[in-house]
Amino acid sequence: MAYTGAGLLASKLPTQAHAYVAGVGEISVALVGCGGRGTGAAAQAIQADPAVRLVAMADVFDDQLQNSFKGLSMKLADSGQIKVSPETMFVGFDAYKKAIDRADVVILTTPPGFRPVHFEYAVNQGKHVFMEKPLATDVIGIKRILAAGKLAKQKKLNVIVGLQRHYQKNYLTAHELVQKGKIGDIVSGQVYWNSPGVWVRKRQYQQTELEYQMRNWYYFNWICGDHILEQHIHNIDVANWFIGSIPLSAQGMGGRETRKGRDHGHIFDHHFVEFTYPEGQIISSQCRHQRGCMNRVEEVFQGTKGHLRINSENFASINSNNGKSIYQHVDQGDVNPYQQEHNLLFTAIKSGTYQFDDVPNGANSTMTAILGRMATYSGQVLTWDQAMASDLKLVPDLNSFNDLAPVVPNTEGHYPVPVPGVTTFI
């Protein structure tokens, strides 16, 4: 198959002669990370503007790339906007470079452990970026993201981060009302992502340890960052956004109570964190992946004058502290926030304007969740500054599935789980 040996192919054939070359007024897009979310994001990019051309795809897994291409073709072949050929499907650990090289805009939707490397490369090559949250799994990654973000700003490259609540009408409206003082000053809040959990991809015969971890990535800290980061970042991000600041410190607790099988890696199944903000505000953050328990995914804030309850189902409700309804959001066919991210990005790019720099907020929200994870893993109070000084590198440089995996199971097939009070800092 030509695309699996793309590096070899590139040296033999002048690929430019075969690859699609964007025409005048067209915007070429490359997809890096062809899972369900990446495929969805590529479809949203294509639907955002008729000028968009998907010209290249990259993944470490050939089957995943092929399924993604098949899905996109089923949905959007008639649009004429899919210009990916076997020569521009790149598989492997360095595939991202080849795909990014071919595009004006890149979509970065691999698991978060790889985001810093991909974003850095995209910015160095002068590309506009849509990238999914979270932006890293460790502090070293955060710093690379921030540095690349600065460069993107200098180069006037638009960057949107998939914290889609920032592009959802009920959140934007409620945020404006809070800014106007409708609930007074926020003094406290509770943010939740409590659910039964997510998928598991069981170990397959003949997989190397690294391939297994990259398939079943949700359960490995180096690539996922634990669910307090991978999912709960959305709710923590809303806390930072509505308070208007990052926290000063965090302390919390967590562990593995019900989800602790061999295919569950080493992440926790629950975390509860208290974040303290500069004006003394406290945010209680809870996230749980346990079956049969209360489910709740939303944010609540208490202010000096009123309180707000808000969630992703286009719901927002503000009441005064004496019980009067101040605002009730009515969904009037609100635009899908996942689509809106791409609509805005491509409008800006098409008109040649520099409008979006989501990197500082995306990095701060990622870091806040990492701070929370460090607090629950260690059982200590940690300040933002202490956490930012961490030089623990979770993600090694990886070049092949035969490389040593970042964590190794014991003889029973279990991975080392952080122990509060013993684990110093992760």
């Binding site: 997510v198 998928w199 079956r291 489910n295």
Partner: protein
């Protein structure tokens, strides 16, 4: 179209014990009969065409007295107790191991003691198939004709109750406080069925045909199925609808909007991101069908891009 066979023995109410503990589905026996399906007027805001009214015969069946709860649906979701089978296992032979397993919900607002929500019609049907394998009895979603027959419970007026007493019988926009509620808190209809009007709307088997009932056939076992994912019918109105949308004949139907905030491609077979107002209840018919026939009722998955 085969003519429905007459049921010789009168059906009785019973309790289906799902897991040998408190997880029970109470089933109400509903006698066969004729009724006028649909209504003469255009329906609330002309949403689902429900005319012309026409006479339908419905065979006897059982229907769950409440909407299927999250507690019971979770057992299907997690599949941890598949080895436990009903003590009085029925005649149906269906292997449970090969049944499709639902994925975890991406965003989940399901609540203890409440009806399951945000489920696709396919997910509801696969629950029925799983329940059939657990019990040895053939469970499925109701046809639209069965659903309305059960909802009307012999009445011909817009609701199965005095509209002045709607707050005794139904959760809807004016009294729901913006959310759904445990099924069974309001009064039942005369068939003993709770929350047919309001609370969560309920999936039925039929596709929605904008031509209305013009081409409908005179059989309660008829249901309209097309090889497309949308639009499919859900009935009864919900906690977020005005009371007019709760009338016995009102029809609503699905569209891709119910998954619009699903960020993945392909989209989930199992979950809607935008259907906190849709659940389902199950029926059991008294007819013996072979597996192929039962599979027609349960349907097959359709990938959505």
């Amino acid at each position: 179209m085969t003519h429905p066979s007459l049921v010789s023995t009168p059906l009785e109410n019973y309790e289906e014990t799902v897991l040998g503990d408190q997880k029970i589905i109470k089933m109400r026996a509903i006698a066969s009969g004729n009724y006028a399906m649909g209504s003469m007027d255009g329906g609330f805001q002309n949403k689902g065409v429900q005319s012309p009214q026409y006479e339908v015969y419905v065979d006897a069946f059982w229907m769950s007295e409440k909407e299927i709860s999250w507690e019971i649906y979770q057992e299907f979701l997690y599949r941890e107790k598949d080895h436990i089978r009903a003590d009085d296992y029925g005649d149906l032979v269906l292997e449970i191991d090969g049944l499709s397993a639902a994925t975890m919900p991406y965003v989940n607002f399901n609540v203890t003691n409440h009806p399951v929500i945000d489920v696709t019609q396919y997910a509801a049907s696969m629950f029925c198939k799983w329940l059939s394998a657990k019990t040895g009895r053939f469970y499925r979603l109701p046809t639209e004709a069965e659903w309305e027959y059960a909802c009307r419970a012999g009445t011909t007026e817009p609701y199965s109750f005095d509209p002045n007493l709607i707050d005794d019988y139904a959760w809807y926009a004016d009294n729901s406080q913006g959310t759904f509620h445990p099924s069974g808190l309001k009064k039942p209809n005369s068939f003993g069925l709770y929350d047919m009007h309001g609370n969560v709307a309920e999936w039925v088997l039929d596709h929605y045909d904008p031509k209305g009932y013009d081409t409908a056939l005179d059989s309660g076992h008829f249901f309209l199925r097309k090889e497309s994912l949308y639009p499919r019918v859900f009935r009864g109105g919900s906690w977020r609808d005005p009371k007019e949308a709760l009338r016995s004949s009102e029809r609503d139907y699905s569209s891709p909007k119910l998954k619009q905030r699903d960020p993945q491609l392909p989209k989930s077979l199992w979950w809607h991101t935008d259907a906190p107002h849709i659940g389902f209840r199950v029926v059991r018919s008294n007819k013996i069908l072979n597996l192929d026939e039962m599979n027609l009722y349960w349907g097959s998955p359709i990938k959505e891009y």
